[in-house]
């Protein structure tokens, strides 16, 4: 049974989360005795094609269209649907990024099939595709079985490993027909390639314990040293100290980086749910009874304003 994976790129640069989805897709295709195909959409995508070949794609469907340089739901949808028709796919996979969250449900609705969003596990067991997905922001996990294939699966970024293995990489150009329904007016990338918490491998997050919005400068410095993204608790986002795009937790982003440093965050249940799958959690908090210490691998009790600069110096 074949697996088709949409691999996202932005301006010709492949998304790591896309390669993660591809590697998981290939593992499932291998288990099911099928082939793996990738779908690439864009303009200048040669580098993406090369990367995808090196991550196990047997076949690569390329859709080169000037009007699909940026994500266009209708055009991307038609492209993936065309590839599904060309390649007898039992699984359609895609990384659950802002693009993937938008596109994946449309694919399912267009094909009239089931969709498992944002999965953290997917296996082929006794002839069935079984997925695991967190609900309630990770307070509970649910395991599902697809009663019927094909299905669409979106994979949570930073959960599955990308695996380098060369595939046959046969390139097939497609020319789908579509009518665009939206117009992209403008794309603004934050200065200095700021890392997004949902993609970062390391996160330094701050909460009320930082006392003032200006003190986030200390966290930004530490984040710079570590190559980390800055995250925030709901309290400081609601107070307007930090943009909501940095919020970690149930009404923000769910993250699972290798290293999560929580500074001045007490650990409200909705915050813990959003970050407790991080591999290593460090908590820095003045209050020795703060719930965050229960989930932290390493805790330091103390004043963030003292500890953070010292930690930054020690790490430089």
């Amino acid at each position: 049974m074949n697996v088709l994976v949409y691999v996202e790129n932005r301006n010709g640069a492949v998304k790591k989360a896309g390669l993660e989805a591809l590697s998981k897709g290939k593992a499932l295709a291998d288990a099911m005795g099928g082939q793996t195909a990738a779908v690439i959409i864009g303009v200048d995508v040669d580098q993406v094609v090369a990367e995808v070949k090196m991550h196990g794609a047997d076949k690569i469907f390329v859709i080169k269209k000037d009007d699909l340089e940026h994500y266009q739901s209708a055009g991307h949808l038609a492209s993936v649907v065309e590839a599904v028709a060309q390649f007898d796919s039992k699984l359609v996979m895609i990384a659950a990024t802002s693009l993937g969250r938008d596109l994946a449900p449309r694919i399912a609705a267009k094909l009239g099939i089931m969709y498992f969003p944002d999965v953290t596990g997917a296996e082929f067991k006794d002839g069935d595709v079984v997925v695991k997905r967190p609900v309630y922001a990770g307070k509970i996990y649910m395991d599902f079985k697809a009663a019927k294939l094909p299905v669409v699966i979106s994979t949570r970024p930073n959960v599955f490993d990308k695996v380098e293995i060369e595939g046959a990489g046969e390139v097939v150009e497609l020319n789908p027909e579509y009518t665009l329904q939206t117009k992209v007016l403008d794309i603004i990338q934050s200065a200095a390639q700021k890392l997004d918490v949902s993609e970062a491998d390391r996160i330094v997050a701050g909460g009320r314990g930082l006392k003032e919005p200006e003190n986030f400068k200390l966290l930004e410095n530490l984040a710079d040293t570590l190559g980390a993204a800055v995250g925030a608790s709901r309290a400081v986002v609601d107070a307007g100290w930090r943009p909501h795009s940095e919020q970690v937790g149930q009404t923000g982003k769910t993250v699972g980086p290798t290293l999560y440093i929580a500074v001045g965050i007490s650990g409200a249940i909705q915050h813990l749910a959003g970050m407790r799958t991080s591999k290593v959690i460090v908590a820095i908090n003045k209050d020795a009874d703060a719930p965050i210490f229960k989930d932290a691998d390493y805790g330091v009790i103390g004043d963030a304003m003292q500890i953070v600069p010292a930690l930054n110096e020690a790490l430089k």
Binding site: A109, Y115, K183, I187, V280, I307
Partner: protein, 249 residues
């Protein structure tokens, strides 16, 4: 302008979620049920547009009898009408989207809002699914919106930035945090909401096409340690991160 907002009743995000005895579902007793937080942004935006441009706001939910509570909360914020599409048992995402799309098509709204996701099942799927079924434009996870004549311009967050997208109406928009500051229902609003009639429609029941195998708690984290107090703990913390956890060079 006819505006619809899709809403859902969910457990408060401060809730500790427990499984029932058979571990076949979550324990729903003793939970505090609220209007899905992302739906509050959707309702607020709809009310703002209706006030500015003229029009009315209908809130719609697909659920069991108790789901009417979500409608009451939105009515208390100021929505004009409400529809409960009654559901039986459990259904899958596509079934839910189809049930809602059917009603939305019949009522011919100019704008349809939804929260970007419900904080219970965290799917973020229903909005784009409905738009696909209805074949109308859809912009998800919006943080800013301008409504013009027959078209909308919305801003949505992408990783490390944002994009600005235009679509013609009718269209569907899903609300992200940051779009606005949802109002609190006034006492008068709450009183009025109790008097407003909720239209009840029988939803078609579609047997779920997925099988729920099991529910579980997340894996327990191994107990951690307090490295120490104050500045003295910093060198030891760095050593542990380097040598024990091996997460820094």
């Amino acid at each position: 302008m006819k505006i619809a907002v899709l809403v859902k009743l969910v457990p408060d995000t401060a809730s500790q979620i427990r499984l029932n005895q058979e571990k076949s579902w979550i324990e729903t007793r003793d939970l505090n049920w609220v209007l899905n937080p992302y739906d509050e942004y959707a309702v607020e935006e709809a009310l703002k547009i209706a006030a500015e441009k003229g029009g009315d706001v209908t809130v719609i939910t697909y659920g069991k009898d108790e789901a009417v509570e979500a409608l009451r909360k939105a009515l208390a914020m100021g929505a004009n009408g409400a529809i409960l599409i009654k559901k039986e048992g459990y259904t899958d995402l596509l079934g839910t989207a189809e049930a809602l799309a059917k009603v939305l098509k019949e009522k011919a709204f100019d704008l349809i809002f939804a929260g970007l996701k419900a904080v219970d099942d965290d799917c973020a799927a229903i909005g784009p699914m409905i738009a696909t079924i209805m074949d109308i434009p859809c912009i998800t996870e919006i943080t800013k919106l301008e409504v013009g004549d027959g078209q909308v311009t919305a801003q949505r967050d992408i990783e490390g930035g944002h994009e600005s997208i235009q679509a013609s109406t009718p269209c569907l928009l899903t609300a992200q945090k940051g779009l606005n500051e949802p109002r609190y229902p006034s006492l008068k609003g709450i009183m009025m909401a109790k008097k407003k009639t909720v239209e009840i429609l029988e939803g078609e029941h579609v047997e779920p096409r997925v099988e729920t195998l099991s529910l579980s708690y997340p894996p327990e984290r191994a107990p951690g340690k307090i490295v120490g107090e104050g500045l003295d703990a910093v060198p030891e913390l760095v050593r542990l991160l380097r040598e024990e956890a091996r997460v820094i060079e």
